[in-house]
């Protein structure tokens, strides 16, 4: 019974039993907490998954729109890509990361952080300035969508990883730690029971021996007073009477 399954290698004592029981309780509490965490994360994960899917599809449309407005710019002003590329200096469109906490998991979320005012020098784009501005706005909107999507995706990646880790832990506790502790408790209990029985048997044995000894003593005691009762008169008799009786009383003494 104690050999079945894995168990901790500890000495079977009552203290170890108490400790192991406490650990089992702790493991069970931990298991239920982790299971709850996993459920919360999975709920969140499903929601994000859905949003990611939607956002990816939305992104396709938004980017199409943006490309179209850029085509309008090209039509109105000619190719400006070289100019735009050369004028890029410091980013005016940045993102800011903020944290969000979902049951102990830090999920970053990106926020658009636009520097107000245009640092683009649009000189040289005499014609179609309006189209350029419009394209700029459309692209800014598109990038906002992209940023939103990126934060969803990051959350998705992190949650995925965390859920895996949590699952591993839940399974490890459920299938390894708890059975092992239970086995240990079984082992300790059986060993303690065994020791109890041995102790009981030993006590019984000692008691039986004591009883036997006591009985022997009693028997001896019972025999002794008779001898005592018999011998003093004999001694007296011996003292009083003839020395021939002395031999008899001496014979009595020899018994001891």
């Amino acid at each position: 019974m104690s050999g079945a399954g894995q168990r901790e290698n500890i000495f079977p004592t009552r203290m170890a039993l108490t400790n192991t029981k406490q650990r089992l309780k702790g493991a069970q509490t931990g298991h239920s907490l982790l299971a709850k965490k996993r459920d919360a994360l999975t709920t969140r994960f499903r929601a994000i998954l859905k949003k990611v899917d939607e956002a990816k599809r939305k992104m396709g449309r938004v980017m199409q729109l943006a490309s179209f407005s850029l085509a309008e710019v090209t039509y109105a002003t000619g190719d400006i890509s070289y100019l735009v590329r050369e004028q890029a200096k410091a980013a005016s469109f940045k993102v800011k990361a903020k944290q969000e906490n979902v049951s102990g998991v830090v999920l970053p979320a990106f926020e658009v952080d636009r520097v107000a005012g245009s640092d683009f020098n649009l000189t040289g784009l005499g014609r179609g300035g309006q189209q350029v501005l419009k394209a700029k706005e459309v692209y800014a909107k598109a990038v906002e969508t992209l940023v939103e999507l990126a934060s969803l995706q990051t959350a998705f990646m992190i949650l995925d990883e965390v859920i895996r880790a949590t699952n591993r832990r839940v399974n490890a506790i459920e299938h390894v730690v708890i059975p092992r502790l239970e086995n240990t408790i079984k082992y300790i209990t059986s060993e303690l029971d065994e020791m109890d029985r041995e102790e009981f048997f030993r006590l019984k044995k000692v008691q039986a021996k004591k009883k036997r000894d006591a009985q022997a003593e009693d028997a001896r005691r019972a025999a002794l007073p008779i001898a005592d009762e018999i011998s003093p008169p004999t001694q007296e008799i011996a003292a009083d009477d003839s020395p021939g009786d002395l031999l008899n009383s001496k014979d009595e003494d020899v018994i001891f």
């Binding site: 890509s81 890029a88 200096k89 990646m157």
Partner: protein
């Protein structure tokens, strides 16, 4: 978990064709700093190794929060993209003008599909 020091990541980077890059630069994501750009224009003459080098550089830089890459460009370095699984910078495959978006090729959507599948 790669969530360390995402506070100072605040730039976007882009690898894409001319139109995509131009549009995104118009929106103002461009950042040039000591000859280090955060955008790469890919055309038919750009070699795969250049794209790979740029991809490696942008994914290793500490100030980039989101890396945008055109899907047809991502196709060229697909093994690298599929292997990439860090949270930061977030990798986003975007459609381009000439290449409509195909959700079945996206490495993230593939994972989504797999998760929904089982």
């Amino acid at each position: 978990m790669a969530s360390t020091s995402f506070k100072d990541r605040n730039l976007l980077a882009v690898i894409g064709d001319e139109d995509t890059v131009t549009g995104l630069l118009l929106a103002g994501i461009g950042n040039v700093d000591k000859q280090k750009r955060n955008f790469l224009v890919v055309d038919s003459k750009t070699s795969v190794s250049t794209i790979e080098a740029a991809f490696e550089e942008y994914t290793e830089r500490k100030d980039i929060a989101i890396l945008l890459i055109n899907q047809h460009v991502a196709e060229k370095i697909r093994p690298l993209v599929d292997k990439y699984n860090q949270a930061f910078p977030a990798l986003l495959e975007i459609p381009s003008k000439d290449h409509p978006y195909d959700p079945s090729k996206d490495s993230v959507l593939k994972r989504v599909q797999k998760l929904f599948g089982d």
